[in-house]
């Protein structure tokens, strides 16, 4: 690989690199969103069981995926930051959290809007739903903790600790919730998967998933750039940047 | 024994001090001077290992204090702005417990003797919260009487003390230095520790 990674681990050079890459990812994300939505709404056929309501899937599933991926990625960056004391990794972790929380919220919201027509209720205490809700709490805890700490270095490290503790706990939480739910019988409605997911549906969903990835990368890069500026405002390179810009 | 090189301290976005170099040998007293906010407390906290310098190194007997960690803690006693006494415990309990936490268990009679020496006779079994400011500081200082550490790091030990207690602290320091101890101290009040090597560090 031609890129010298070590070079880009310094905030200053990452700042310019990210500046170049953000538009790239934004455009890709936009194009993929358009394509995915087009296939989802105009090519994919009507589902014979759920009629048109199933079209929520094209945003619901990618959002749910992203919510989980982003937590893992956030925790990894935070861990790297804690272990090797690299400022940039911690900044990226901080930048990921709001996007992750947003996707978690979207998964909950779209799920609820899907649940009402399909199950007749906005919410059930199902394993998947419940653990998604807890994931939202974990994101919010991470952000609240970082927001409560003024000193950025301390905020980075404290955030890393709580993110890592969260990662250890997520599987425990997931399995405990799953088990809790399946031991109770009763009003549990399981997610009804459409019998044979049409190929077009799958394509659209995958494209939308990719679009969400690109979107996340773009937004995170943007936010990381802002955070870099905020933290390095008193360094030479920032003032030079101001002078030239 | 204690060697500080090129130390720099950043607080917020300001560099409080940089290029601090000094070393301290047995029997030497180092007095850190400087106006309010010049970074004395910050420096002392770094010397203890409570704060981490952005640049520079602190070595104890040749090893970086970060690598020594608990071994280093065995060699120092730190007295900060805060007394580290619990309001609801009595003076004697405070003294015994804080000594034990510092790895130096003392028995009751030793504790009583130290408190009495610090002029706290009669207050030993009062909870610290009813004591006056100066008496609380004396309880904290009593730890110095019973500890067996080499390096004392004292942040304004004389605050709230009356003149009798100031004299007491002076004699305590002289005795410790005579026995080959080392002291780093920040204070605004003049203290008179005659006949020992006194180094001064002036922060801007």
């Amino acid at each position: 690989m031609a890129i010298n990674w070590f070079k880009y681990s310094s905030p200053a050079s990452f700042y310019s690199l990210a500046g170049k890459m953000t538009p790239l990812f934004s455009i890709t994300a936009f194009a993929l969103f358009v394509a995915g939505l087009y296939i989802g709404f105009f090519v994919a056929p009507t589902d014979f069981q759920q009629s048109e309501a199933y079209r929520i899937i094209f945003i619901h599933v990618p959002a749910a995926w992203m919510s989980m991926f982003l937590y893992l990625i956030m925790a990894s960056w935070a861990a790297i930051g804690l272990a090797f004391n690299t400022r940039l990794s911690s900044m990226i972790a901080t930048a990921i959290a709001p996007t992750g929380a947003m996707f978690t919220f979207l998964a909950l919201w779209t799920g609820a809007l899907w649940g009402k027509p399909m199950w007749g209720t906005w919410w059930v205490w199902d394993a998947r739903l419940t653990s998604e809700l807890i994931l939202l709490f974990l994101y919010i805890g991470f952000m609240a903790l970082q927001a409560a700490i003024d000193d950025p270095r301390r905020a980075d490290k404290a955030g890393a600790v709580i993110a890592l503790v969260g990662v250890v706990n997520i599987p425990i939480i997931y399995f405990s919730v799953k088990w809790w739910n399946t031991l109770h019988q009763g009003a549990t409605v399981s997610l009804t998967q459409s019998p044979k997911m049409a190929a077009t549906m799958l394509t659209s969903m995958l494209i939308m998933g990719l679009a969400c990835w690109m979107y996340s990368i773009a937004v995170v890069l943007m936010r990381t750039r802002t955070i870099i500026l905020e933290r390095e405002r008193h360094t030479m390179w920032v003032s030079e940047l101001q002078g030239t810009a | 024994m204690l060697k500080v090189s090129d130390l720099e301290c950043m607080r917020g976005e300001r560099s409080l001090f940089k290029d601090i170099n000094f070393s301290l040998e047995a029997g030497e007293l180092m007095q850190v001077n400087g106006p309010n906010g010049s970074g004395k407390t910050s420096l002392l906290r770094m010397l203890c290992g409570l704060a981490i310098p952005v640049h520079g190194e602190i070595r104890w007997c040749g090893n970086a204090i970060r690598s020594l960690d608990e071994e280093y803690h065995n060699a120092i006693t730190y007295l900060g702005h805060l007394n580290g006494t619990k309001d609801n415990l009595t003076a004697i309990e405070n003294l015994r417990i804080s000594s034990a936490l510092a790895g130096n268990e003392i028995d009751e009679s030793e504790g009583y003797m130290a408190l009495r020496h610090m002029g706290l006779g009669g207050c030993e079994i009062l909870p610290v919260k009813v004591l006056s400011q100066g008496q609380r500081r004396r309880v904290a200082l009593a730890r110095l009487l019973v500890c067996r550490t080499v390096l004392w790091i004292l942040d304004e030990p004389l605050v709230a003390l009356d003149s009798a207690a100031v004299k007491l602290v002076q004699s305590l320091l002289v005795q410790h230095l005579d026995q080959g101890g080392m002291v780093v101290m920040a204070t605004h009040q003049d203290i008179n520790v005659a006949a020992v090597i006194t180094k001064r560090l002036q922060l801007a």
């Binding site: 709404f41 105009f42 090519v43 056929p45 009507t46 009629s51 048109e52 309501a53 079209r55 929520i56 945003i59 619901h60 959002a63 709001p98 996007t99 947003m102 919220f105 979207l106 919201w109 779209t110 809007l113 899907w114 009402k116 027509p117 979107y215 937004v219 943007m222 936010r223 750039r225 802002t226 500026l229 905020e230 405002r233 008193h234 920032v238 003032s239 101001q242 002078g243 | -």
Partner: protein, 65 residues
Amino acid sequence: MSWASWSDFFAMGGYGFYVWGSYLVSFFCMAGEIALAFNRKRTLLRQLSLIHKPIQKEQNNETTP
């Protein structure tokens, strides 16, 4: 293409509220996130230009004779 008309499309087989509710909120969340990110950066740049103004002026003085 499975839609007879635009109104059909918006009705979503009677599930319009739910489908469009999902997509609109998703859209606004993402748009809002981007807007917030931009806004944060803009206010920061404004602050920075205040901080670094003296430097900038000096440079201007040097470069423009």
